[in-house]
Symmetry: C2
């Protein structure tokens, strides 16, 4: 067991003091790298430093904070829509048909579902709760795909009754359950088989193995995937439309996809040879990386689509297969960079680290309850003073939360102007994915609202929680 | 950034296959170690294997699951009360007065607050939310201590107005804020100073340094603690009653406390020398370890109290100080072992790891949303087949959740009977602390209920969430 969620408190002192590099000047402390921030975020203009606060689609973040409070997730609608549209174009506007599923697990709300439906995307859900939201929001049912390693009987029943577009089959048990539900409803359900192809990818690396030690999918190497397909093709209530693989997260290049596509196409050829038909769709899953810091270098949707088409075309030619539909499941790559979190500073503390080194601890009014990723994945974020600019010298800082735990860190290592103090607003970039989605009420802290901004107007996307909401679970009050 | 929340999927294969040791026989697979399970948990009797399901205070877990559903947190009231009472006795029944604060962050509800009030304990809260619950539940206000590194203006105002027993001061900013609130209310507020003494303890180790790289408290080494005390004694609206330190979590022996007590008493002597009075209370914080597995060996409340009294007595004698009140803040040590989580199995999957090794993946209907500790801290848990016993051979297993993430692991390495299958109930022990408290709605999964059991009756402590609760945050539905 690790002593502290974010690693030893002392062990990282040396590396933390070494990196990141100090900013060259006060200007770079306020720079808004376009790879990290939403497209409609900019600095206000004016001679007075306080006039150069952060603006989103024309709205001053100080006004947004005053109206909606802090902490607050701020979502740039234009940025979200443009990323969704870029994915749709990248896969639709080609001779080879493609399909883009938004991965709902990253962040889900009725408002963003309406935007996704507008932009022509499909949706992947993985629980009855995600499905319930999608159905209630009126998302086109036939554009929904149902994922998950342990779908419950009730969830399967609801999904079949609603007529979801497809199931991504993850276990033998599920084949029987979905078939039974389809039979009960007198319908035929389209299914894909989730195949574990033995590839695990992350940033610029991937590992390929024969044996995959994880809970998802049916193994290619031990024949479980082929056996699942055999069982599916025998069942008249199931229609095998495709094969699916998902190889990792925050992936920055195509090498891992190359191997997974090679193996998936190999299986598609085996299906043709054994069963006499070609699958219509190859779904290569999600995992497309985004920039959390200005030197991260993710591919664009278009670059990735071109690469995947090239790989699949080559592989299918090798096996003499017709080109299938290529599907992908971006979640983080759409919502991640379109949202940032606004916090208000509460206390500032100088910690003497010895040998002339010091660290500034800047405590904000949120923390690991609204962003568990720093503690959970050692994630790194970009943070900016948002309520003004400052000419003060840069100080090595750590942005921490308000929770009763030393691992409650929001941004582990950053440089902030030396005069940041109580009342200032800080903005942490690229918090759209897996922040609100994984938020908790640790220490009975209510979860912040999500506000969508467009054309100078801010609207609630998810309302903020209140203390009363939390106390409502307690029957002894 | 780590690729997967619980570490690399493949990297741990070798160690996982080596440990833990295989159980000697089928009996040990069903054993309920008293250091891990609540005192009122036992196996039912009867010749039929299905009659030997888990029972809590006379109730069959199958009946509890049928009534309240799964996943479910099950709390043994007798166990909770007996641990709370043991702490009170360990510190009260002595010539040296002591004080026990339950650390609310571990788990909080009105019902358990009533039990704590009954048993004569005090309470530590660290946010306005925890305070609101305590006030609403009628917990005696003067027995509440208010912690936290970034208490907000409103929270301070509420706490001063309510008349909480004391504030644990964590920053210079807070001194001014609490003093101002006290003045506004025409009252004098008792305060302790949270001192960072440069000790970090965990299990059987501790690190002592001069410089402490963490967000909490005021540093002993750089003089911040002494300066905070100077500011406090000058303010007529504040009354310095004590010094506080907290050195870590899951601590199994006294060595770290020895060093922290030495340093804290040294500061108390410096206070006497500079300001001419002795502080009334030394609070040594929480961090007392519990058993998550049968070979963990935490101290009892009594053993720890005796050790702390010995240390403080010795240290105070050395400085010629009168004996102060000794305070501690157990949270996990009270609620941790008194609760377990009940899950229902959904799918079982055999994964071939190569070289003749295999791992059984057992998927349950909860996961990282109701217990983030496995992913966040690499925590290890004990799991048992709960709905029956089995004579099947033990199989190396991994209990995983239903979330769309490969790191969604509940129990990383365990042995389970080879015939565990869909529909079986599993019980995971010692989930009382930091599980419901840190629970999320990841994948729109509602948070489970907490049920308290006593004398054959089960009552809701916290009701379970519903999908409707989750959708209620969405103004676009």
């Amino acid at each position: 067991m690790r002593a502290h969620p974010a690693g030893p408190r002392h062990g990282d002192m040396v590396s933390a003091l070494g990196a990141p590099a100090a900013p060259v000047d006060a200007v770079s402390l306020h720079e808004l790298s376009p790879v990290v921030w939403p497209i409609n975020v900019a600095r206000g203009s004016g001679d007075n430093l306080t006039q150069r606060s952060l603006e989103v689609a024309g709205l001053d973040v100080r006004d947004i904070a005053d109206e909606f409070g802090t902490p607050l997730y701020v979502l740039d609608e234009g940025d979200f829509r443009s990323r969704a549209a870029a994915f749709r174009r990248a896969y639709d506007d080609s001779d080879i048909p493609g399909k883009v599923y938004y991965a709902g697990k990253a962040f889900l709300s009725a408002t963003t579902l309406h935007w996704l439906a507008d932009e022509g995307l499909n949706l992947d859900v993985c629980t009855g709760g995600e499905l319930a939201l999608a159905l209630r929001a009126g998302f086109p049912t036939d554009r929904i795909s149902f994922h998950g390693n342990n779908k419950g009987h009730d969830e399967i029943e609801t999904a079949v009754a609603a007529g979801v577009g497809s199931f991504v089959i993850d276990s033998y048990e599920e084949i029987a359950r979905v078939a039974a539900a389809a039979t009960r409803h007198g319908t035929v359900v389209d299914v894909l088989v989730r195949v574990t192809v033995g590839v695990e990818a992350h940033t610029h690396e991937f590992i390929a193995t024969a044996h995959e030690d994880q809970k998802f999918g049916l193994s290619l190497s031990n024949g479980a995937a082929a056996e699942a397909i055999r069982r599916i093709v025998k069942l008249p209530s199931l229609n095998l439309v495709g094969l699916h693989s998902h190889i990792g997260s925050q992936i920055f290049d195509e090498a891992g996809f190359e191997v997974s596509a090679h193996r998936l196409v190999g299986l598609a050829a085996a299906v043709r040879d054994e069963h006499g038909f070609e699958v219509a769709e190859l779904n290569l899953g999600g995992g497309m990386g985004i920039a959390y810091q200005s030197d991260d270098d993710p591919m664009t949707a278009d670059q990735m689509a071109t690469l995947l088409r090239g790989i699949i075309t080559r592989e299918c030619a090798g096996y003499g297969l017709s080109l299938p539909r290529i599907a992908v499941e971006p979640g983080r790559a759409i919502v991640g960079p379109s949202m940032f979190t606004l916090y208000r500073v509460g206390t500032v503390k100088e910690i003497d680290l010895g040998n002339g080194h010091a660290r500034r601890y800047v405590s904000v009014d949120g923390g690991m309850s609204d962003n568990i990723r720093t503690a959970l994945y050692d994630a790194e974020y970009t943070v900016r003073l948002a309520s003004r600019v400052s000419n003060a010298d840069a100080v090595l800082s750590r942005v921490v939360g308000r929770h009763c735990e030393s691992g409650d860190i929001v941004v582990r290592d950053c440089w902030l102007p030396g005069d940041v103090s109580a009342g200032d607003l800080l903005a942490v970039a690229a918090t759209g994915a897996y922040c609100r989605a994984m938020a908790s009420n640790y220490n009975y802290v209510p979860r912040p609202a999500v506000v969508g901004v467009r054309d100078g107007k801010a609207n609630l996307v998810l309302r903020g929680e209140t203390i009363e909401d939390l106390l409502a679970f307690d029957p002894a009050l």
